[in-house]
Subunit: 403 residues, 2 copies
């Protein structure tokens, strides 16, 4: 498993990448990224659950349906979400896909668009169109090109998010490469970020969809930064088939599922760690629930409590706020059965204060990453959730975004 800071990335065969600076971002940083996929590449995607969706989400859904899960090119721009831009935004998105399709010699329906950035600002299609020939000409299968792609999809991200994995099946290597962006508006229910997963395994679009849903459900759907849900977010999985390994046997599918989950979990962790203004990444372990859903509900309520998140920002061992959030989850629990631990340090036993060393607790909560365990005393189900603190930097970043 390689992450960003490590030297080698496993780049699956059958894909080439490029990036450009089209002038969409006021900062003048790269804002256009392209991936070209080999003939026969299968695709599956999951999209935001928001009722308000951007033009590229509409177009991406149509293209996946019309092409029956065949995608040959992915174009991502940052700096403008192409959302709430009406018919003009939709038409601009279609036009760009059409030009890419013509140049690549593939039907427009095999082009998949994504956008991220500000909502409600007219979409600068001409800037993108002007850079397409260069983008397409420069695409290559190098690590350098992959890193350029990642850089161009970032908005308020401070760090690029990359993960890859490789496994061998019947002597042949299969690679999975994951690329993501997202540093705010990160919320469960796949509503939240841009994630592109590339693999050279051979699989049908419907099988890819199953694997994608399963992997996302245990990784990207178990994280939260601010509880907001974006209008644009997408996870796309492309399989070129170039490895020569097909997902025909159960053992191949298990190997693939494990590696895909590993890549998605790494991306999920990287996304939370790079959350806007985040200083502490908190792993919530909710145990002894009657069901996974119940544990999930408790975890999300804690993760969305402003009082809890601000206490974390101050490394404040105020476990009472955690208990209050648990009580606010809607789960009909008995507070007198609840235990809370900061790491291994128990701070609440059966709903009551435990005498503990506040300084040790403060030191523990001062770490960049730590765990909080909650035992509900109701059953045997459990759930893990990754979230973060809420700092003044988050407010600064988001109060100053468009003005």
């Amino acid at each position: 498993m390689n992450q960003d800071h490590e030297p080698q990335l496993h780049i699956p065969r059958g894909f080439s990448f490029s990036a450009a600076t089209a002038g969409i971002k006021a900062s003048g940083k790269p804002d256009l990224a392209l991936a070209i996929a080999a003939k026969g590449t299968s695709a599956a995607a999951v999209f935001t659950s928001n009722r308000v969706v951007a033009a590229p989400i509409e177009v991406g859904r149509e293209h996946l349906a019309w092409s029956r899960g065949k995608i040959r090119a992915v174009l991502v721009n940052s700096g403008n979400a192409n959302c709430a831009t009406g018919k003009a935004g939709y038409a601009a998105c279609k036009q760009i896909c059409s030009v890419i399709g013509e140049n690549a010699g593939v039907p427009i329906q095999q082009v998949f668009p994504s956008s991220t950035g500000i909502i409600g600002v007219p979409f600068p299609a001409e800037k993108i169109l002007a850079h397409l020939p260069q983008l397409m000409a420069q695409a290559e299968a190098s690590e350098k090109a992959v890193r350029a792609f990642v850089g161009a999809i970032m908005t308020t991200d401070l760090r690029p998010k990359l993960a890859s994995a490789q496994f061998k099946f019947a002597g042949k290597p299969v690679s999975i490469l994951g690329i993501a962006k997202g540093a705010g508006m990160i919320h469960p229910q796949m509503a939240t970020m841009l994630v592109y997963l590339f693999t050279d395994v051979q699989a049908s679009p419907s099988l890819l969809k199953t694997h994608l849903r399963e992997a996302v459900d245990i990784s990207l759907n178990c994280i939260s930064i601010d509880g907001d849900t974006s209008t644009n977010d997408t996870a796309l999985l492309l399989a070129s088939g170039s490895s020569g390994v097909a997902l025909q046997s159960a053992s191949a599918r298990v190997r693939f599922a494990d590696s895909l989950a590993e890549v998605c979990r790494s991306l999920a962790t990287q996304i939370v760690a790079d959350g806007e203004g985040v200083r502490h990444v908190v792993r919530l372990l909710v145990q002894q629930a009657r069901s996974r859903e119940e544990a999930d509900r408790v975890a999300r309520t804690i993760a969305h409590s402003l009082l809890v998140k601000t206490a974390w920002a101050g490394a404040d061992p105020n476990w009472g706020r955690v208990l209050a959030a648990i009580g606010n989850s809607g789960v009909p629990l008995d507070p007198a059965r609840v235990n809370i631990f900061f790491g291994k340090l128990q701070v609440c036993r059966k709903g009551e204060a435990v005498s503990f060393d506040e300084h040790s607790a403060h030191v523990y909560l001062s770490q960049p990453r730590y765990e909080i365990t909650i035992q509900l005393g109701r059953g045997k189900s459990h759930f893990e959730f990754l979230t973060c603190d809420l700092t003044t930097e988050y407010v600064h970043i988001n109060a100053d975004y468009s003005t």
Copy 2:
């Protein structure tokens, strides 16, 4: 209608007030408040919806039930919530009620306790017991005593919250006095603050309950600061009957309901305006919904979006975040029918950007109070909701609370 800054308060007959500094607050500020009610006083209360409740909530519920809605004394302490304090906290609360009952010559069940402050810290009963004789001896029916009561129940409040109203019925004046605290953890569903309403009207506990629920539903349940729900919050309505006016006729009930709603609305507005770190109070008007519930859901989703609240902190006319929050409400709306207005300035028409003067919008959103109207294009129901921005000060206040 008189609020805090105006000279005169209408103090209903049949009540006396006092306050003391018992040393519960580390700051050394007043932290104990008492109200004594005339014989025959009726009472009704609504409590937090949190599953985790403080000892005084349990005791208050029991006492109201056992006394069949008769209350003669109210004791409030700030600085310690007496929550997650187990059997010891419950016993301490009962002991304090018992001492007050003995001294006042009333059954323990006619004493109503409230606490606000930090959760999970042992309850300092001895400090309170030491100050009860002084508190009870000093109670008086003066404006000075009312203001001392308000001061002693404040925690992170910057301003005391008081409102009163008076109406005449059959030539006799009836007064309603409202006292509140709360500056964080303010959330709908009556889960959220301490509110004491005193009146000299004559009414049964069950009639009071009806009036209290109605008034709270259109005032204190339509506000949100941070979406968190406290373990302690309470609204209590006491009626001494000392005015000689009984709520027997429909016209008397209408007059009373109007005045009670007026007092509750004033307190609700004061609470939001004094929300932790609040710089902008925002009135959300959600219109053209299919039902009030639907409009309510949209309003609360907007009010709880961190991205929207931080944009408000920066007076940022980023209406796209409002649209995204609307889409995130779960209401099956069509974004292409949604209109958004900042005051009278339309910024989104049928889900799309409208050309508007960004500077004017920024100036409008820089005001301490303003309105945002959302039209859903689905029906004729509407809902009004009061909320606020999220500033770095909120984070500072809450990151530093217990440490």
